[in-house]
């Protein structure tokens, strides 16, 4: 239905943990961006040769411990950590962001919202960094609207970490308007030092079609990785 260029050779893994919820949405976004989604099972240490990995939202293992804490120790996450160290692009969304922090791929932590309620809203965001593997299709400073829906979405980190993130341009997305959760420096998303691993609390996979989301602003995150893979593999083919 969409006229996105497709790159049949680009395969993006989407992990399913028990309690993952937005894995179907992430897979849909991957497909809409023109790549092939590959199901990665939590108990499986194998990434099946995917070009990139999405760690989706949800409540892995119920988040009955700290959010993301149990998932971070599953076999598939160990494989993701190893792949990330080799430069494979990894995107953690919401619970996925929490998992990447717990796994040590990203600094800081996500704690309970300042208002102590679950917050679901269409969130205005500013793209602060367009140099990561996932945000290269945005203009720096672009404003986008993407759903935010989380209970533990308040980003916190040591002062030195925040200085480092700000200094190195690793803050990827910032909340605009009144803070939804009290995040430090209004941080909605950050990147690893090499810009290959990105974690964000808002859900770009819910903003790929104005019919079912507030906008289609989130689709470019997925397209960026598909495009980069296309450059590696050769020209994109186009389908109607």
């Amino acid at each position: 239905m969409s006229s996105s260029p497709t790159n049949a050779s680009c395969r993006i893994g989407v992990i399913t943990f028990p309690g993952s919820l937005d894995d179907v949405d992430a897979a849909r976004a991957v497909r809409r961006a023109g790549a092939e989604p590959v199901v990665l099972w939590h108990a499986d240490a194998e990434l099946h040769g995917v070009d990139a990995v999405v760690v989706p939202g949800g409540f892995s293992y119920g988040d009955y411990l700290r959010a993301g804490a149990i998932a971070a120790h599953q076999p598939v996450v160990r494989a993701v950590v190893a792949a990330a160290r080799r430069g494979t692009p990894v995107l953690g969304i919401c619970n996925g962001f929490q998992i990447l922090c717990e796994a040590g791929l990203l600094p800081g932590a996500l704690v309970r919202n300042a208002g102590l309620h679950f917050v679901c809203r269409d969130q205005r965001l500013r793209v602060e960094s367009a140099t990561t593997a996932w945000t290269s299709r945005y203009s720096p400073g672009a404003e986008i609207v993407v759903p935010l829906k989380s209970m533990e979405g308040r980003y916190v980190a040591a002062a030195s970490t925040l200085t480092e993130l700000e200094g190195e341009g690793r803050i990827v997305l910032r909340y605009l308007g009144s803070s939804p959760n009290g995040a430090m420096h209004d941080i909605a998303g950050i990147a690893s030092a090499d810009g290959r691993v990105v974690g964000l609390m808002p859900h770009p996979e819910h903003a790929i079609d104005p019919l079912t989301g507030p906008s289609a602003d989130g689709l470019d995150l997925f397209r960026a990785v598909v495009e980069a893979a296309g450059e590696r593999y050769g020209p994109l083919s186009s389908t109607a």
Partner: protein, 755 residues
């Protein structure tokens, strides 16, 4: 019983003398402890519908063959199922969890969601959306500040973790709910028609598998104690050591949404692999209910060994195991040759599963524990042949006084200043203000199929990405109208839910309900109930859409004072292509605004009379279901041909409220001149039924007017949408949208804290 002379505590279990005598007669002997517990929970009001049954039959009597055409399962099954086209079927149901939600708002509301979701799974469907119809005491009452945030957090905590979008519902405040809030949870599921699973235990030798959570001592007596007796008299736990009255854990169950999420995925994989012959969820009355219902709906005979049930507490008696309401459990009937594959799927999802029995010849449900038979009963007598009461029904003498107290003598605003002030006051009132404080705690996006959710009039989800087919659902009930006239009030609830589905562009197909009333021993309450059932059934017959299921909740009262009669009506609709859905907000600048339907001087039970004068009296607005149907046909055609840019139903608060909401939701201003023929107050605040506000590009106006003429629906031009962020109502005043938004959105955060 060890000692046949010892009296059995049947009264403490909620059984009447004649009910106990009947159990002895059925069995030809004294019941065992386990049997007594089973009968007591299954013959409770909650499980047996003993007071409502004689009235509910009327639904069946009024459902014609034509209305049944799309119905694949109906009343008596776990949930109604209707065919919606392209080989898809949809199942939906609302259920109350009122009493637990008062005792423990978070867990009460959370397990309400969990229970209704399992009902939907028990039909073989994937749950695809939830909605909640909530009623609390006065917004400013101190206890509302305990109950509302707790219940909302419970629904959010459970539903969000389950991964189901919350797409609608209601929040209503009235002092009558102060000691008895209503938490009615709705779930919608979708499946291929060929995948329908009914709760039957057929095929001698087939295995009974219990899977999901372990069975503990939580929720024991929940059914009989919480749902079958008023709080003021629930002193059932006397000091004896009888198993079922020995409540060591609270009677409100504790939910584990993660386990339920895994159970959903596990069930769907089991269904997909064809490993399930019959399935039943475990809800009220736990295993006692599941085994007796499965057996009596199947061949009749079943053997169950309680030693095989995985327990989470030591020393549980057979009665406790049978009546435990531990959450997140399902019971399946599986062919012996499929058991290994069934277990393998459960292992993959880390779901505990155990064979606890098998379908047997004969017509007895035989339950054993440590080699001893603890129950040996004809299952139909437990599940389906419970007592039936013809409770006295009497129209209360106070009804005439109530209807005589008409709103005509209430002081009405007349000057533009007073009207303007009334608009702002009404918009900010707890009855009409924005529900975002509640609904922003719910995930409406998960699964990526939500096309409409709050604040839209109906929730809509896509069920097929290839064809864009979708369903819409709305729940409504104005209990003040029902108090004034329960027959008409219930028809008004049906009309509103029907209209809310129609304004989304969907075609209404089926009806469910959750009938919340006071004590059935009060003849006045039974009169309200009887009138409500008749009103709903007659209304559905007129609209040609069937009631596919429902739920009755009695004993909603504090002391002798019952809640307002609250028959919540849910309507399900289908839309061929969700891309043609109609949004509630106004369209673009330059679009014309039209009002469809007739406005009359109708204020009985209105929001204005309630908010400004604290008045309840007179007659509810007139109902014209033929008009509602005509309106629905106009809207369906308008959606199909893409004629309108926005549509909003008029209900509580009248045209003023509809205009404000349409402006704020659509983010556009408007200039409006009230139709001539009545004073501006009536034009703004009357709650006449059968009306819709439309916005449309001017080139569509001719065609829409033709449609209205063809269907006999009056239409009047109100004005136009404009780019300036103001709502101007000629001869009343000009409102800044920011001013309206602050009034509309400020109330609940001010009462319950910023989120």
């Amino acid at each position: 019983m060890r000692n046949p002379e010892q009296p059995q505590p049947y009264r403490e279990l909620g059984l009447a003398d004649d009910e106990y005598a009947r159990i002895q007669q059925i069995l030809g002997r004294r019941p065992t402890d386990a049997e007594l517990a089973m009968y007591s929970v299954m013959w409770s009001e909650h499980c047996s519908y003993k007071s409502s049954k004689v009235h509910l039959r009327y639904f069946g009597e009024t459902t014609t063959e034509a209305m049944r055409r799309r119905m694949l399962a109906g009343i008596g099954d776990n949930a109604g199922v209707v065919e919606v086209g392209d080989g898809w079927a949809v199942t939906f149901k609302i259920e109350s969890h009122n009493h637990p939600s008062y005792v423990e708002p978070y867990q009460g509301a959370a397990t309400g969601v969990g229970g209704i979701v399992r009902d939907i799974m028990a039909m073989g469907a994937r749950p695809i959306a939830v909605a909640d119809s909530l009623r609390f005491g006065q917004a400013t009452a101190p206890d509302t500040a305990r109950v509302l945030p707790g219940a909302v957090a419970g629904i959010a905590g459970y539903g969000n973790c389950l991964g189901l979008p919350n797409i609608g519902g209601e929040v209503v405040f009235d002092p009558s709910y102060a000691g008895n809030p209503l938490v009615n949870a709705l779930c919608v599921g979708a499946m291929r028609v060929s995948d329908l699973h009914l709760a039957h235990a057929t095929g001698t030798g087939n295995k009974i598998v219990l899977f999901g959570s372990r069975t503990g001592r939580d929720g024991i007596g929940g059914v009989s104690v919480l749902a079958s007796d008023s709080f003021s008299v629930h002193s059932g736990a006397h000091g004896g050591d009888h198993a079922a009255t020995r409540r060591k854990l609270p009677s409100v169950q504790v939910g584990d949404p993660f386990t339920e999420k895994v159970l959903i995925e596990c069930c769907l994989e089991l269904f997909g692999a064809g490993l399930v012959v019959g399935i039943q969820d475990l809800g009220g009355a736990g295993l006692a209910c599941a085994t007796s219902e499965l057996a009596s709906a199947g061949d009749g005979g079943m053997r169950v060994d309680l030693d095989a049930v995985p327990l989470r507490a030591a020393g549980m008696t057979p009665a406790e195991i049978l009546c435990s309401e531990s959450q997140e459990r399902m019971c399946a009937v599986v062919r012996p040759g499929d058991v290994d594959r069934f277990m393998a799927v459960c292992t993959r999802w880390d779901v505990t599963a155990t064979v606890i029995g098998e379908v047997a010849g004969g017509e007895r449900l035989v339950i054993t524990r440590q080699g001893e038979t603890v129950a040996d009963v004809p299952p139909r007598t437990v599940a389906h042949e419970g007592p039936v009461y013809h409770r006295p029904v009497r129209r209360p003498s106070t009804q005439d006084t109530l209807q005589a107290s008409t709103p005509e003598r209430l002081q009405r605003p007349t000057t533009p200043e007073a009207l303007r002030a009334t608009v702002l006051r009404m918009v900010a009132s707890p009855g009409l203000c924005s529900r975002a404080w509640v609904t922003d705690q719910y995930d409406r996006y998960v699964r990526g199929g939500t096309v409409l959710a709050q604040p839209h009039d109906a929730g809509m989800v896509r069920i097929d990405e290839a064809t864009q087919r979708g369903i819409a659902v709305a729940t409504d009930c104005n209990a003040r109208y029902c108090a004034l006239d329960p027959y008409l009030g219930t028809q008004l609830a049906l009309a509103e839910a029907y209209r809310n589905v129609a304004v989304s562009g969907a075609t209404p197909l089926a009806v469910t309900n959750c009938l919340n009333f006071g004590s059935p021993t009060d003849p006045g309450v039974m009169w309200q109930f009887e009138q409500a059932v008749r009103g709903l059934a007659d209304g559905c017959a007129q609209l040609g859409i069937p009631v596919t299921g429902g739920n009755v909740s009695f004993y909603n009262q504090t002391g002798d004072v019952a809640i307002l009669p609250t028959p919540v009506v849910g309507v399900l609709g289908v839309i061929d292509d969700v891309r043609r859905r109609i949004r509630t907000g106004l369209g673009g600048a330059g679009d014309e605004l039209w009002l469809l339907g007739e406005t009359r001087d109708e204020f009985g039970g209105s929001e204005w009379a309630h908010e400004v004068h604290g008045h309840l009296g007179g007659r509810p607005p007139a109902v014209d279901l033929a008009r509602e149907q005509a309106l629905g046909e106009v809207l369906a055609a308008a959606s199909r041909d893409g004629l309108v840019s926005g549509a909003h139903d008029l209900s509580d608060g009248g045209l003023a409220q509809a205009l404000v909401e349409a402006c704020l939701v659509g983010g556009a201003g408007a200039r409006v001149r009230l139709p001539a023929g009545f004073d501006p107050f009536v034009g703004l605040f009357a709650e006449s039924s059968g009306r819709v506000l439309l916005s449309m590009p001017s080139e569509a106006v001719h065609r829409v007017r033709e449609l209205c003429t063809d269907h006999g629906v009056p239409a009047a031009r109100l004005g136009e949408v404009h780019a300036a962020p103001v709502l101007e109502i000629v001869d009343v005043g000009v409102f800044d949208l920011d001013e309206l938004r602050a009034a509309w959105e400020g109330t609940l955060p001010a009462l319950f804290g910023n989120s």
